[in-house]
C-alpha cells in the first residue's frame, strides 16, 4: 500500500519520483523554492504537470491521458494561508466540505469535526475573528470532514506561534491516531518533520535527494547534497580506503564501507567528550586530540567547536550540557580529547 508520485514539469521545475508508504505521516522537506508546494499541488490535482503518474494504493489519479479533477480526489488540503472562505463562519466553512449530505447531518458532522479540532466554541465566528491557531484548526477540521484518504498539509504550522505549534503537533498526532489516513506534510523545518513524520523525503530543485524512514534519513544522509540539506555541520572531505577514512594525519575507522568515500559526516550529538581520567577506548572508537576554538551557550545546551590536531581548517561541532562546560573546564583554547565511534561516521561518495 503506497502513494506513488511521479511528476515531471518544466515551470516550476519538477523531476520527482517516489514511492511513499501510505497510512503514515510523510514529510516533504526542502528549502524555499525547492518545488515541494508545487508537488503537493500536483498531488491535489491543482497543478497539471506535463507528465504525471500519481496513484494512492489501487486508485490512479494521474496517468498518460488521465487527470482526475481535484474535486473527485479523496483528499483534504490545508494550504499555507488556510484558504478559509472569508464570508462563511467556521461552521459554514466545514459544512461546505459536506454539501453532499442532508442539511441536518451536515451541521452535526461539521460541529463534530470542529470539536475534534478543538474549535467548537468558534463555530459561529468568521475567519477574520479567529487567531492564527484557530484558523489553522478550522482549516484542518474542514480538510478532515470529508474523511479523506490523503490529507495534504502545506507548511500548516508556519504562521502560528511556538506554543500553539507545539500543541498543534500533539493534536495532529492524536487526530492521526484516531483516523488513520495518509498525511503528506510539506515543511522546510527539519525539527517539525522529525517530530511528526514517520517517513521523510528530502527535496531540492524539484528532485528527491533522499527518501526513507525519518530516523534513518536524519542520521544517515546518503549523499553530500543530503547532508547539506540536513544542515549537518560536521561535513568533511576525506579519502576513503576500505574500512578507514584518511582525514589529515588521522585514520578513522568506520563501520560502513568507505572505499569510495570522498567525504564523511558525523552528527554533533555523536561527537563525545573523553574524560582525561578514562582509559583508552576500544577499537570501535576513534580518539582525536584537539583544541577548543569556540563555545556558544544556548540555554541549557552549549555548542562547542573543536579544531582537531593537524587540521587547522576543520572545526568539529559538538553539543554539551552547560554544566559539563564547568565540570570539564571546556573553554576557549582548552585542550580536549574527543571520540568518534566507527558506527557514527557516515562515509559519503562524491
Amino acid at each position: 500500500m503506497s502513494l506513488s508520485v511521479e511528476v515531471r514539469h518544466a515551470a516550476p521545475h519538477l523531476d520527482f519520483a517516489a514511492e511513499l508508504p501510505s497510512g503514515g505521516i510523510v514529510a516533504l522537506v526542502g528549502p524555499s523554492g525547492s518545488g515541494k508546494t508545487s508537488l503537493l499541488r500536483a498531488v491535489a490535482g491543482l497543478l497539471k504537470p506535463a507528465h504525471a503518474h500519481i496513484a494512492l494504493d489501487d486508485a490512479v489519479w494521474d496517468a498518460a491521458g488521465r487527470h482526475l479533477p481535484t474535486r473527485q480526489r479523496p483528499i483534504g488540503f490545508v494550504p499555507q494561508h488556510y484558504g478559509l472562505f472569508p464570508h462563511l463562519t467556521a461552521q459554514g466553512n466545514v459544512e461546505t466540505a459536506l454539501l453532499d449530505l442532508p442539511v441536518a447531518e451536515r451541521r452535526a458532522r461539521a460541529l463534530r469535526f470542529l470539536e475534534a479540532a478543538h474549535v467548537a466554541d468558534c463555530a459561529a465566528r468568521r475567519p477574520r475573528q479567529l487567531s492564527g491557531g484557530q484558523k489553522q484548526r478550522v482549516a484542518l477540521a474542514r480538510a478532515i470532514a470529508r474523511e479523506p484518504k490523503l490529507l495534504l498539509l502545506d507548511e500548516p504550522f508556519s504562521a502560528v506561534d511556538r506554543a500553539t505549534r507545539k500543541s498543534l503537533y500533539v493534536e495532529l498526532r492524536q487526530l492521526h491516531a484516531q483516523r488513520p489516513t495518509t498525511i503528506l506534510l510539506v515543511t522546510h523545518d527539519l525539527d517539525e518533520a522529525a517530530q511528526l513524520a514517520s517517513h521523510l523525503a528530502l527535496i531540492d530543485a524539484g528532485r528527491v535527494v533522499q527518501a526513507g524512514a525519518t530516523a534513518e534519513v536524519l542520521t544517515h544522509p546518503a549523499s553530500i547534497a543530503a547532508a547539506r540539506l540536513l544542515d549537518i555541520p560536521n561535513l568533511f572531505a576525506a579519502q576513503g580506503a576500505e574500512d578507514r577514512l584518511h582525514w589529515g594525519p588521522h585514520a578513522l575507522r568506520t563501520a560502513a564501507p568507505a572505499a569510495d568515500a570522498t567525504h564523511f559526516v558525523v552528527l554533533p550529538q555523536n561527537v563525545l567528550l573523553v574524560r582525561p581520567d578514562r582509559p583508552l577506548g576500544s577499537h570501535l572508537e576513534n580518539l582525536l586530540d584537539g583544541r577548543v576554538r569556540e563555545v556558544m551557550q544556548l540555554g541549557t545546551e552549549a555548542l562547542v567547536w573543536i579544531e582537531p590536531a593537524g587540521l587547522s581548517e576543520a572545526r568539529v561541532q559538538m553539543r554539551l550540557p552547560v554544566r559539563a562546560l564547568e565540570r570539564y573546564r571546556i573553554e576557549k583554547n582548552a585542550e580536549v580529547r574527543i571520540s568518534l565511534r566507527a558506527a557514527d561516521i557516515v562515509p559519503l561518495a562524491g
Partner: protein, 223 residues
C-alpha cells in the same frame, strides 16, 4: 415636468439592467479567470464605449441597427417596424454602451478573490456551479451591486447614444435627458430645470441607497 420621459428612462434603465447584468456577470467571471494573451484586446474592446465619443458609438449602432443592415432588415420583417428609432433599438444600444460599467466592477471583484480560496473550494469537492454560487457570488457581491448601480444610473443619464440611435420620439424614445435638451432648445427653462432636478435626485437616491446597502453588507460581514 415630462412624466412619460421619466417613466421611459426608468423603463430603459431597468430593462438594460435585466438584460445586461446576467451577461456581464458571466463575461466578467470568464475574463477574470482567462489567462490568455488575447485578454487585453478583449478587455480593450469592452472598454471602448468609455473612451469613444457617444456619437461614434451611436453612429456605428445606427448603421448596425438601421434598415439597410441585415439585423435591421430581419427585425423589420419580423415586427413590421424599424429597429433604429424604437425602444428595442434603444435597449440594444444601451446594453452595448453600458458594457464597461457592468463588466469592470464585477471583473475586479472576481479577480480580488484569493486563488487559495478558489482552490480550497475545489479541494472541498465543490462543483464549478457550487463554487460559483456558494463562494464566488457572495464574495463578488459588492462588485455586482456596484455594477448594477453604475449601469442603472448611467442609463438614466445617457444622452448622445440615445439621441443618435433613438432620436427624439415622445413616448417611444424620448428619455428624460433628451426631453431636457428638447426643452432647453425651446427656451422652456422652467421645465428643463424641474426635470434636471428630478434626474439629479433620482440618480443621487439610487447611488446613496446602494452605497448604504454595500456599507451594511460589509459591516455585517465584519461583525
Amino acid at each position: 415636468m415630462n412624466g412619460p420621459a421619466i417613466v421611459l428612462s426608468l423603463q430603459l434603465a431597468l430593462v438594460t439592467l435585466l438584460v445586461l447584468l446576467p451577461l456581464a456577470l458571466v463575461g466578467a467571471r470568464a475574463l477574470a479567470r482567462w489567462p490568455s494573451p488575447a485578454r487585453p484586446w478583449a478587455e480593450g474592446l469592452l472598454v471602448l464605449p468609455l473612451v469613444l465619443p457617444p456619437t461614434v458609438i451611436g453612429y456605428y449602432l445606427l448603421v448596425a441597427l438601421g434598415g439597410h443592415s441585415p439585423l435591421g432588415q430581419w427585425f423589420e420583417q419580423l415586427t413590421g417596424h424599424t429597429l433604429a428609432f424604437s425602444f428595442t433599438g434603444l435597449v440594444i444600444a444601451s446594453v452595448i454602451f453600458n458594457i464597461p460599467f457592468a463588466v469592470q466592477p464585477m471583473q475586479r471583484a472576481f479577480e480580488a478573490i484569493e486563488p487559495e480560496v478558489l482552490e480550497a473550494a475545489k479541494c472541498c469537492g465543490l462543483s464549478g456551479w457550487h463554487s460559483f454560487a456558494r463562494i464566488e457570488l457572495p464574495l463578488a457581491w459588492p462588485g455586482i451591486l456596484s455594477a448594477a448601480v453604475m449601469t442603472f444610473a448611467h442609463t438614466l443619464g445617457e444622452f448622445g447614444v440615445v439621441l443618435m440611435v433613438g432620436g427624439n420620439i415622445p413616448g417611444e424614445t424620448q428619455t428624460i435627458a433628451i426631453a431636457i435638451y428638447d426643452r432647453v432648445q425651446s427656451f422652456d427653462h422652467g421645465a428643463a430645470g424641474t426635470m434636471s432636478l428630478a434626474l439629479l435626485l433620482i440618480s443621487l437616491a439610487t447611488i446613496a441607497v446602494s452605497y448604504g446597502l454595500a456599507d451594511r453588507l460589509l459591516k455585517a460581514r465584519r461583525a
